[in-house]
């Protein structure tokens, strides 16, 4: 088990390093950098070359990359070229916003999606099952940001309510913070609840066809006991894996929702960094996203052992 985790970690780290290199090279290979953006059309060559020297853009790419890797290994992601702030600070601030949205979404989606999926699975073939399946398919088909737009319209025309415009951290004003997050979390949760419910239904129907279920019912156990004590426990493993997948998906998928609801999260940080050619911010934030995905996957692997003792080392 430990050896497996170590090799997983090693290949993930290799992939992370390579992806950093690709992003690094790609950004610098494409015409238009921060200097071009600062000076615009009128920039004169002397100023441009002086600025490129200031940002270190005049050196060969491999030298720049080696320097960046050296910094990262010392725990320094550098400073934003626009804001002058430490990239690690910017990433941490943005991550807290995204994490709050992601955890609230995960909670809501699990609370709604899992029971729906279990219900549909148990009642396979019934009207309830059909209705839940339609919800699943529609929820999976609807673009998240479109759901967000429609919720905005609905809230303003039916409830006469619009969310506040500026983001407020929960430590400053919790009520305002919640008011801002309601619609983004709801929009994301519709999709993820549908995904959950879809997945759990499939697991349930497959599991209910297994021999032990028939045996347990033949033995005289009540269906409720079989469903909740035996079947549900057996689908916990795929469920946990799926939870990890969904968490990664939400962390990445918030980029559109953050842009729609003006939330200063990770996705927005990456997007504005790319658009402003703020290389240190893009590199640092992407590295962080990749690292999070690696950690979540490792935690999921570890959880397997906790749920199913047979998988323990």
């Amino acid at each position: 088990m430990l050896r497996f985790l170590a090799s997983r970690l090693a290949s993930s780290l290799l992939a992370a390093a390579l992806s950093s290199l690709v992003v690094f090279a790609l950004m610098r290979a494409v015409p238009g950098d921060i200097v071009a953006q600062m000076l615009g059309q009128s920039g004169d060559a002397a100023a441009a070359s002086a600025l490129r020297g200031f940002f270190g853009l005049d050196r060969p790419i491999h030298v720049q990359f080696a320097e960046w890797v050296g910094q990262v290994l010392q725990g320094d992601l550098g400073r934003s070229w626009y804001q002058g702030k430490r990239v690690s600070l910017l990433v941490a601030e943005a991550f807290l916003v995204t994490l709050e949205v992601a955890l609230a979404t995960l909670l809501l989606a699990t609370l709604v999606g899992v029971p729906l999926g279990v219900l549909a699975g148990i009642m396979e073939g019934s009207r309830v099952d059909a209705a839940i399946q339609v919800f699943n398919l529609a929820g999976l088909s609807a673009p998240v940001f479109w759901v967000g737009l429609m919720l905005l319209v609905g809230a303003s025309s039916i409830l006469g309510w619009s969310p506040p415009f500026a983001y407020m951290p929960p430590s400053v004003d919790l009520a305002d913070n919640i008011a801002i997050l309601v619609l983004p979390v709801l929009s994301l949760a519709v999709l993820q609840a549908a995904a959950y419910s879809h997945f759990v239904r499939d697991c349930m129907t497959a599991e209910l066809r297994r021999e032990y279920v028939r045996a347990a019912i033949a033995k005289g156990l009540s269906p409720a006991r079989v469903h909740f004590r035996h079947v549900l426990r057996n689908i916990l493993i795929p469920l946990v894996t799926f939870m990890g997948l969904i968490l990664i998906q939400i962390l990445g998928g918030t980029v559109v929702i953050e842009s729609l609801f003006s939330l200063p999260g990770l996705g927005r940080l990456i997007l504005s960094g790319i658009q402003g050619r703020d290389y240190p911010v893009v590199q640092g934030a992407l590295l962080f996203v990749v690292a999070i995905a690696i950690v979540v996957n490792l935690v999921v692997d570890l959880l397997y052992g906790l749920i199913d003792p047979r998988l323990r080392p």
């Binding site: 609807a142 673009p143 479109w146 025309s157 998906q249 980029v255 992407l286």
Partner: protein, 276 residues
């Protein structure tokens, strides 16, 4: 096929499956002959009629420069779905081909290809899409490129595992004993058996790729205006959401309906192939 057999086939289908068939037919018409359904120009500007709600003259209303939204949304069908279909096709050919060779040949080639694919997989799809289109700049070409790259690993993996499993089957051994070359076995014997897996993957990934296409369009990283595209229309509608909700409503509904139809088809195919 007579009307009777069609009815007999349909009677076994669930209402959701029938609905998805109807949607398929409708989208096919919109893709082939959009001008028959919406004769108005999707590009004609009429500032005097800007931001009008849906009416008899403009079924879906008008946008901020007075373009007819019905025409725009209908004409966008071919563009949006075509871009996604083309991008995924490129992805399937490239990723599937690479996976076939890697799975069948194995060895160093397999190792290197798997590492390259892992690099793409380090990012969540939407982030990879944002990075690629953000760095290369918006536009249809870069959008297709981004989608093709993002979904390449999924095709690679499915084709690789299929080819790996097939390469150990007896018929491959038999072909080898008969003196067929490796390339010939791979292309003529193994590839046809891997193809259904790739096709199924195509159908399963289509709705996901459609979502990413729309999301990138919504972020302003997709098809450049004034070309009608569902994601791009949604991007435009975002700024008028509280005064002109209809700009955003329709393209989203069309996205939902097309993703829904393909998703149901994917489920049916999965059940047929016994993997769902």
């Amino acid at each position: 096929m007579s009307a009777g057999t069609i009815a007999a086939r349909l009677s076994g289908a669930t209402p959701v499956q029938v609905l998805s068939c109807v949607l398929f037919a409708a989208f096919a018409v919109l893709i082939v002959v959009p001008e028959l359904v919406a004769p108005q120009s999707p590009l004609a500007v009429d500032p005097g009629r800007a931001l009008q709600p849906p009416s008899a003259a403009h079924w879906f209303g008008t946008d901020d420069v007075g373009r007819d939204l019905f025409a725009r949304v209908i004409h966008a069908t071919r563009i949006t779905l075509g871009l996604v279909a083309g991008a995924l096709l490129a992805s399937a050919i490239l990723g599937g081909g690479l996976g076939l060779v890697a799975g069948y040949a194995g060895g160093t080639l397999d190792l290197v290809a798997a590492r390259v694919v892992d690099v793409i997989l380090t990012f969540p799809p939407i982030i990879a899409g944002v990075v690629i289109t953000g760095i290369l700049g918006p536009g249809a070409t870069n959008l297709v490129l981004a989608l093709a790259i993002v979904y390449l690993p999924m095709f690679f993996r499915i084709a690789r595992s299929g080819a790996l499993a097939e390469s150990r089957r007896t018929y491959v051994e038999a072909a080898r004993a008969l003196g067929f070359g490796e390339a010939s076995i791979m292309l003529r014997q193994v590839a046809p058996n891997v193809l259904p897996l790739v096709l199924l993957q195509y159908v399963v990934l289509f709705p996901l790729a459609l979502q990413i296409e729309a999301a990138l369009g919504f972020l302003g990283l997709g098809v450049a205006p004034p070309t009608p595209d569902w994601g791009a229309i949604l991007e435009q509608g975002k700024n008028f959401i509280l005064v002109a909700w209809w700009i955003s409503l329709w393209p989203g509904l069309f996205l939902l309906a097309s993703a829904f139809a393909v998703m149901v088809l994917g489920r049916m195919l999965q059940q047929r192939l016994g993997s769902g």
